[in-house]
Amino acid sequence: MIDLFPLATVPTLRLHGVDYLLLVLYFVFVIAIGAFLKRSMKSSEDFFLSGRSIPAWIAGLAFLSANLGAQEVIGMAASGAKYGISTAHFYWIGAVPAMVFVGVFMMPFYYGSKARSVPEYLKLRYDEKTRAFNAFSFAAMTIFSSGISMYAMAKLLNLLLGWNFDMALWISALIVLAYIFLGGLTSAIYNEVMQFFLIIFGFAPLVFLGLKNVGGWPGLKEKLAIVATSPIYGSENYSSDAWTSAWGSLGSSSGNPMGVEWFGMAMGLGFVLSFGYWCTDFLVVQRAMVAKDENSARLVPLIASVPKMLFPILVIVPGMIAIALTATNGGFSIPEKIVDGATMLDYDMVIPGMLAHYFPTGLLGLGLTALMASFMSGMAGNVTAFNTVWTYDIYQSYIAKGKSDQHYLWMGRVATVVGTLVSLAAAYMANSFNNIMDMLQLVFAFVNAPLFATFLLGMFWRRTTGNGAFFGLVSGTLAAAIHHGLTLPYGASAGIKGGWLVSEVLHRYPSEMAQNFWTAIWSWSSCFVVTILVSLLTKRLKTDDELRGLVFSLTERRTDRYLVWYKRPAVLGAIILAFAVALNIIFA
């Protein structure tokens, strides 16, 4: 969550007529897209699943864009300044392999089962209670996270532009509401693709100007060597390439600013967290489910992984440039904030600060539009995932069964309005009770961490039972909570950061990130083991026939030999992984 403490140096963005013109033009376009799509919203399938007719490249870019909220743009630049190129692990280790896996191995079951949502897949594969567990936690999570990001955005606009907080909040929420209400998921997806291009065109000049200013990549490396060994920003323990080498300093957790060692990185982030998110989170999976056929659905995450791999240039490099210039008095410095009377760098202000520094009137409007676009795409992703899970998995399953399709289409629109209003309420709650929001996010992290074990066993081991899955999930969630309650990062006191179960913590991690990764590892392993044990002890309730199309060994393998090589998921997946490995080697 973005911390917005009192700023010692507020970057001010002064907008002129031309900047407003660009911003307003963007608003007009997003709503117009929704209005044009309204005519094609005839059934609930149109509204929630775009009638399963979206071409792979559009769904692929939306897949990426829905995940690219404003918090990601701002947070990744902040991490780029704090940790350097190692932040790219969130992309190269923490996203690309999982995206390839979901495309090549899991999509056939999601798409082939004709499930309309991830919770619905769980119902088909396991049972009602497993679906309910996932549906309720997911619905609550999406609504709250969209509220939190709305809060962060409104606060940011308020700080930078002096806009009224309420006005910023309501205008952006109402625009997103309008285009989803009108055109459903198709409208969200179309807009996400447009937002994707806006984000690229809005931030690319920042990278260009920043790199030119520091003297290109060699100049940046030279300056970051000073950062790494400086007593203020780095530490004498770090080697001079701590900011510019992704793996070099990961041998021990004390040698790099993240405080993570390679195993925690590879297992915690690279396996549990990343596969858990990209392979099971309905927010992204929904965008692949709408593709026009099974092969397109498999290509969606693969297409998305290519720009994903290159995104560090756009979002991490600006952070690295910012810290390099700050440490060497290069003309730009990261804004400062005051916490408990002490002045420190406010890393979340890296992107806004650099926009204010480098962009003249005109381009500034474009940069701001890009920021708004990233915020809206993230929020729309949450809202469309919420209204689908609410309508199909909660309303249709537990509240009003067997109504007409038109009724559920109507319910989808109602859920869009109500979901947005609840998000707005959550945004106001975040504004007054920061702690409640932090706590909710923590609980959701516990619920999410074990999910991938449930899907992995469900898709690849037919013996897994509904009871196994359910109790595995519960035990994984508990394991995450217990691990968090027993450990603390260095320098933190017991409470929201952990250590709330005992008076003397069992283990202290070098950083919060290391603690998060290990919480995930414990949670996943516990879910994996308990699911297997309970499955062996309980009876299978689903017959082989019922599991056809849902489990690997019971599903007929369709050949894709008739396709040209660049349309075959396995071939593309291998090429993409090779590129990811190459990037890791080049920046090792």
Partner: protein
């Protein structure tokens, strides 16, 4: 009927490109001190205009081909 997404993307980028390009033409050099002396409005406006044009042309071309067959 859904429409070709490249159409609105093309139109938006043509509009953005044209606005930035024209704005860049009519603004003085002094304004571009912050961007290292480069008239980024003019340059980036031109790039966006070309990108928008390509998107628009692709949508237009596909549509005509579709109408022929």
């Amino acid at each position: 009927m859904k429409f070709d997404l490249r159409l609105p993307i093309g139109l938006l980028f043509i509009a953005y490109g044209a606005i930035l390009l024209i704005y860049g033409l009519f603004t003085s050099e002094a304004m571009y001190q912050c961007s290292l002396g480069i008239n980024v409005n003019l340059l980036w406006g031109a790039v966006m205009l070309v990108f928008g044009g390509i998107m628009f042309a692709l949508a237009f071309y596909t549509r005509r081909k579709g109408a022929d067959s």
